[in-house]
Amino acid sequence: MTTFHTASFKDRDAQVVIKNNEVYRLIYDSYKEPYEKLMQSGLYEMLISKKMLIPHIETENFEPVYKTLKPQKVFVSYPYEWCFSELKDAALLTLEIQKLALEYGMSLKDANAYNVQFFEGKPIFIDTSSFEIYEETKPWCAYRQFCMQFLAPLAVMAYKDERLVSLLETNLDGLPLDIASKLLPKSSWLNLKLLSHVHLHALAQKNYSGCHKKIEVKFSKFQMEALLNDLTECIKNIKLPKSKTEWGNYYNETNYSDESFEQKRKIVNVFGEKINPETVVDFGANNGAFSRLFKEKSKLIVSADIDFSAVEQNYAITKKEKETNILPLVLDLCNPSASVGWANEERSSFFERIKDSELVLALALVHHLAIGRNVPFSKIAKLFSSAGKNLIVEYVDKKDSQVEKLLSNRKDIFDDYSIENFEKSFGGFFDIVEKRHIDNTFRTIYLMRRKEK
């Protein structure tokens, strides 16, 4: 059975469909000319060689269309789950592709951040049907979209707070420029590039919002290159201030010795080898120290944390070490990305995308959820069981100084927080395969297997 992808309905030239769990891109007759130009001009090969565009193979048509493409499968993440540098790299990739496309007589007809995904450690463009034949004299039709999807969120994250990237979840077309302009500090008006691309852009939009007149505009290729150069410089110059958070240095600030930390690594490694998982989702991954234990064993490790600085650090490590299978993402487990967009299904929820991973890793996390966020053990266990078939989880006792810290300024209402209750609640969803205590600590690591119904 063929079903249309829930996010693929805006383009009239091509559509993404799912058939037998495989993703295909149907190219309609209306897109024949641009598609042929993409494939025959050398642009496709060049972008593939630079690993900037997702490769595809042409397969037999199972619908009456011009071509059926089968692209390389990727794990889908969304801009509101990315840290600042991930969004910035995605923006620079989009601009670079547009510059290269111009050299081959083509242009991007949209600059949607959702057209970029992370594959083998790098951002990659996944929308093969986004290229149109470039007509000199035309301005870049995707300019406004680029500013809303990339430039404005990056500026707001850098000038105000990285957490404001969450505005993209409620504004799927990108951050409205008038909102960005209001959010940015007055000092940003002194930045010529932000002044023009955000503030004056927002004012111009407002001023011309009722205008439906035909006007005559000439936009040369040189001017297009100048615009792209200006946008590139603007994006490159938007930088995050160096700031530390409570969790950013977590692994340097543990309350146990190096020996205990090493023992914890060994236990997780031994448990991991018993599973040999192809897919891992690491909740509360911090900078990905434990995610990296699986980088030789697994195809994909989704390394998620609530803390932006930790995710930023994690992404910096993946880039530095050229790691191809670790994907750092921002995730608040108490409010994970929901199904949003048209009919509440255009962008799927985080748990829909990671469900049935082979291994869930939840180290030094349960006490934060149970005590820090008042979530009962049974609810935590249920959530973890929806994410994966196996679980490596750490129980941290109340005697541990990290838990004492959590309870230091509040009334201890957590009489049910005990290792017995932990095992009983998790036992409702998992079979406990093995457990090992970390010497000289109040911590125990469990290997569990999901109970299949």
Binding site: C147, K186, L203, Y208, S209, V217, K218, A226, L227
Partner: protein, 68 residues
């Protein structure tokens, strides 16, 4: 503050009427984006031409140094 800036930004918008060649384009509610994009490109072209010129000069001297 923003109102004042926009009030006097007409100077910034003047070149739109001085563009030498013209082509037709239907303008939708994104008219403002088209206009601002054109203006940025017009002004940006000057700086961009400078960058390209500087690169050419640099590569010329580098070539000259290599042949020496």
């Amino acid at each position: 503050m923003s109102k004042n800036i926009f009030k006097y930004s007409f100077i910034f918008f003047i070149p739109i009427f001085l563009l030498p060649q013209q082509a037709f384009a239907y303008l939708d509610p994104g008219t403002g984006s088209m206009i601002i994009q054109t203006l940025i490109a017009v002004f940006g072209s000057i700086g961009y031409a400078g960058i390209l010129f500087r690169k050419k000069i640099k590569s010329f001297f580098e070539r000259f140094r290599k042949t020496k």
